[in-house]
């Protein structure tokens, strides 16, 4: 069994085997967080590596006031957001100030091709949404964090997390229904 306290204690004493165990335990979690926020497989791997280096450098400061997974997810989230902000200077200008008014556009010629693969289609929809929606959707559904934990990770108030989650899911459902109807109509024609 993975004993968090024991592993952390060993890492603080420079036990690199213990650190490797920690990476193995949380690499999926970190990858899921980074996956949706960063484009390009090579970048994702580099960022995941940076995340774990930061984990190693700061693990001595971890006081077990939260779950280790929440703490690592927060480092992953902040690193990915920081990277995205640097790589796309106008990143936050791309989205409307009031993200509650966000809606999908129909102008996407590649969409029809992507729709053949369900997973790729869902990812393409998520990628079009504001980063706040992408984050809560990923942390809640893929990483299975609670809304309270998402607040700890992102700093977004729990009520807002719930509101983003509801709105993002509603938008996605509507988009999927619209696309299914559109495809059905085109096929019938």
């Amino acid at each position: 069994m993975f004993d968090e306290k024991e592993i952390v204690k060993r890492i603080v004493k420079d036990d690199f085997r213990a650190f490797e165990l920690l990476v193995k335990q949380y690499e999926k979690l970190v990858f899921y967080v980074v996956h949706r926020l960063v484009q390009g497989q090579h970048n994702k791997e580099d960022i995941c590596q940076d995340v774990f280096i930061k984990v190693y450098q700061n693990i001595g400061k971890f006081q077990f006031q939260s779950k280790l997974s929440t703490w690592i997810a927060r480092i992953a989230y902040l690193t990915a957001v920081d990277y995205t902000r640097k790589s796309k200077k106008d990143f936050f200008l791309e989205y409307p100030d009031d993200i509650d008014r966000y809606h999908f556009t129909d102008e996407n010629p590649e969409e029809e091709l992507i729709q053949k693969d369900a997973a790729a289609y869902i990812n393409s929809i998520i990628e079009q949404m504001p980063i706040q929606y992408q984050t809560v959707i990923t942390l809640y559904h893929l990483n299975e964090f609670s809304c309270a934990e998402i607040q700890d990770i992102t700093g977004i108030p729990e009520g807002t997390v719930k509101s983003y989650l509801f709105r993002a899911r509603k938008l996605m459902k509507e988009k999927m229904q619209k696309d299914i109807n559109k495809n059905g109509y085109e096929r019938n024609e």
Partner: protein, 143 residues
Amino acid sequence: MVMKEMSDEELQHLAEQGGAKNENLSFVEKEELMAYQNLFKSLHAEPAEGLPFNFAANVRRKVQQQAAMKGDLKFQFILLFIFTSILAAAFGLLQFISPAATEQLTSISPPLKWSAGLAVLMFWCVNLLTTGVQGLNKFGKQQ
């Protein structure tokens, strides 16, 4: 009597609970519920791509090398500190034992004095640089 349709919030909540007790729902509500259930199923699906199988070992190696490089640099600075301390102590001792010899030493021509000091400093810098280059080469090979 017209039944009140379920809101999206209620439908999402129901879908999260697995859509139990949906026999009382209207046709439209059942359709909406199914759409949410399908969406949630897709959202839970793991991404197709992932990290390489040796990712953990690679990160461990990188962290280990960084720690070793940090240790090497620390050692270089400790070496410099020890060397200057010994030099200062020797000079102090000489001044205590024989002030005349100290005076003789300080009267050595400045170019010679500076050359000796510079040689020591250069030796240390080369050592430091070698440590850094070795560290970078290790990272290069690993990546």
